[in-house]
């Protein structure tokens, strides 16, 4: 397993230890042409690495467990084992039967966590919106709840959403709210010149958190990526021959 920091880790500030990560809200945005699911996989793998002790609560609307399991296995991370170790808690939204279970199960999963840092990942918010029949305020309620967890327990929250869904709405409350809440926004977009087989798209990481208090400006990085079965290559435009 290579733990050498890649461009994404650097942009997220993950390369200098886990401590800087906790308590953050991260928004991942993608579109039909370029899926950003690989960023989720990357984060899951990072959090579940043997070096860290953090746990993950994965709220899945988009794919069944087996999908993630197969992908992460190729990346060298066994989700079934991590599930047994209680480090990976998978909330398959199909199997939840009680109303409000969403919140409860997140709570319940938090309790035994103790001092471990916990990350909540949601894949993806737009489907949660569909599931509550388009009532974005309910989704926002849930997100605010999760956000209070980040301040109270030092959890972090990672949310995937599809940007283009909201592109034609006049007042896309939900996405604007989440963008406001998020400290880090990761955007996956296709290349302006179209899609290519060796460059799968570009990532823009906007880091709003100015933890050092010195720089008021957002830190922003942009780089290209190429997704492979077991890893993702990140590189600056034009830096590859």
């Amino acid at each position: 397993m290579d733990r050498s920091p890649n461009l994404l880790d650097q942009a997220l500030g993950l390369h200098d230890g886990e401590s800087t990560w906790s308590g953050r809200v991260v928004l991942i945005e993608d579109c039909v042409e370029t899926s950003a699911a690989f960023v989720l996989h990357h984060l899951v793998k990072g959090f579940l690495s043997p070096l860290s002790s953090s746990a993950i609560i994965f709220v899945a609307f988009a794919q069944p467990f087996s999908h993630y399991d197969r992908i992460l296995r190729k990346m060298g991370c066994n989700l079934v084992v991590q599930k047994d170790n209680k480090r990976f808690i998978f909330l398959d939204m199909l199997t939840l039967e009680c109303p409000g279970e969403n919140q409860k199960s997140v709570e319940a999963s938090l309790l035994p966590g103790g001092s471990r840092s916990i990350t909540i990942l949601i894949d993806d918010i737009s489907l949660m919106e569909v599931a509550v029949k388009g009532s974005s305020s309910h989704v926002l309620d849930f997100l605010h709840y999760c956000r209070t967890l980040t301040t109270e327990f030092g959890c972090s929250l990672v949310v995937l959403n599809h940007e283009d869904i909201y592109s034609s709405i006049e007042r896309p409350t939900l996405i604007l709210q989440i963008e406001y809440l998020a400290e880090v926004i990761i955007k996956a977009e296709p290349l302006v010149t179209g899609l290519a087989t060796d460059v799968h798209g570009q990532l823009t990481v906007i880091n709003k958190g100015n933890s050092d208090g010195l720089s008021l400006q957002n830190k922003m990085c942009n780089f290209h990526f190429r997704v492979r079965e077991n890893s993702v290559e990140y590189f600056y435009p034009g830096s590859r021959t």
């Binding site: 690989f38 069944p64 109303p99 029949k133 869904i165 799968h200 492979r228």
Partner: protein
């Protein structure tokens, strides 16, 4: 190119070990996927094997081109030829009548000679460096033909399917005209699904008898606290037209055709319902079938649902095909008169869909195009592949070409070909080819070249 692409993954060597399917009409692919045929050999090849079982396939329709019906017919016929259960929902009052228009498979003798001919033809037309790709595909398909039941047939669009296929007991037809809401349709689907043989791997779902009831339970229970919005009944003015054809391996294919008259005020609720409906379907089908097909598969079924469109924009529809499931929903023609959530739903659907296709008409006698494209006269329409299923993998599939011309060979069978553009004016040609597909990417990044 999709076929060779998937095979070049690091897991490709396992493919040879993969058990040969016991059931006709089912093919194992990489990453534990199982394919059923789309009924069009070329489309199967382009998609790397066909429609993955349990995936949602959506076809966006063009106002001027009824080519989605070609896809639908071939898809349904293929299921029937493989003796897969079929649930077909139709906009008409007599959905069974549509079965009479299904094409019949071309006899395999014809098939071979035709293929040979195609190869030669292609060799002539296509630049030599691309020939290797064709060779590869050709091999691929020869291999499949050795087995007695063919995975994918060619269909003769001019001859109706033989009666004994159509009169089978495992065909259910639903007319959704006048149906007050989608739930009755969903119930119908669940009864259909209940008839499909079940296997032990499905026991996790035992508490729910069918996936569809699971979906209902899910929707009722999980979010009932949030139901300050009562589930709006669809207005009676709404006519849902649904065509359902089912084929699956314990998975299924579904076509929905729907909706004539939605009152403007209720459009919002309606669209939420429709999208939610698709979401639930995706879940029930995806989660109960896709992950579990490591085990044995006993049968395949197809459900085809066709068309959900509103009166404001009844001229432009899209179809969503769900692993054989097609939905047709509206895609506004005139943005000023159509509420914006319609568009919102379109993109939601595109995200929901595993495979996204669109068909388009070819403008008559377009002088520029005649010069640009070889074989322009033979073309019936265009097919765009926007999205190819990423099942159990994070690697996106990029096809060599995303636009294909739909042609009729000898006025009978459907053929898809890459657009062969004359090299004079590559820029305008390619912009035509990609028009409408990636228009969302107009934003310029910080570091663009």
């Amino acid at each position: 190119m999709a076929a060779s692409k998937t095979r070049s993954s690091s897991f490709s060597r396992h493919i040879s070990v993969v058990p040969t399917p016991q059931i006709p009409g089912i093919k194992y692919g990489p990453n534990g996927t199982i394919f059923v045929s789309s009924g069009i050999p070329d489309l199967d090849r382009i998609l790397g094997g066909g429609f993955p079982l349990g995936s949602l396939v959506m076809v966006m329709e063009d106002i001027e081109a009824p080519h989605h019906m070609l896809l639908l017919r071939n898809f349904m016929s293929q299921g029937l030829v493989h003796n897969q259960p079929l649930l077909y929902g139709s906009p008409s009052r007599e959905p069974r009548a549509f079965l009479g228009t299904l094409p019949t498979p071309v006899l395999s003798k014809d098939d071979k000679s035709r293929d040979h001919e195609t190869e030669q033809e292609k060799g002539l037309r296509i630049a030599w460096q691309y020939r290797k790709y064709f060779g590869e595909h050709q091999q691929n398909f020869e291999g499949q033909r050795d087995g007695k039941p063919e995975y994918c047939n060619e269909f003769d669009l001019q001859k109706p399917l033989e009666r004994h296929y159509i009169s089978g007991q495992n065909i259910d037809c639903v007319s959704l005209q006048g149906s007050p809401n989608l739930s009755s349709f969903r119930d119908r689907c669940s009864t259909f699904l209940a008839q499909l043989p079940r296997l032990p791997p499905f026991s996790p779902l035992a508490s729910w008898q069918t996936p569809a009831t699971a979906a209902t339970a899910f929707s009722r229970s999980l979010f009932s606290s949030c139901l300050h919005l009562p589930e709006p009944p669809l207005p009676s003015a709404l006519l849902i037209k649904a065509a359902i054809g089912v084929s699956s391996i314990d998975g299924m294919n579904l076509w929905v055709v729907a909706a004539n008259g939605v009152q403007q005020s209720s459009v919002a609720n309606f669209w939420w319902l429709v999208v939610r409906w698709g979401f639930l379907w995706r879940w029930t089908i995806g989660s109960s079938f896709v992950p579990r097909y490591d085990g044995n598969i006993t049968c395949a079924g197809r459900i085809a649902i066709q068309s959900l469109y509103t009166p404001q924009c009844e001229y432009s529809n899209m179809i969503i095909e769900k692993h054989g499931t097609f939905f047709q929903c509206s895609c506004p023609y005139n943005l000023s008169t159509v509420p914006c959530f319609t568009i919102l739903c379109k993109e939601r659907w595109q995200h929901l869909a595993d495979t996204l296709l669109s068909v388009g008409a070819i403008p008559d006698e377009d002088k520029e195009l005649v010069n640009l494209l070889t074989g322009y006269q033979d073309m019936v329409g265009l097919l765009n592949v926007h999205k190819v299923t990423q099942c159990n993998t994070q690697v996106p599939v990029f096809l060599e070409a995303t636009t294909f011309s739909i042609k009729l060979k000898k006025r009978r069978s459907l053929v898809l070909e890459c657009l062969n553009q004359a090299p004079i004016d590559g820029s305008s040609g390619s912009s035509y080819a990609t028009s409408g597909s990636c228009s969302g990417s107009s934003k310029t990044g910080k570091l663009d070249f």
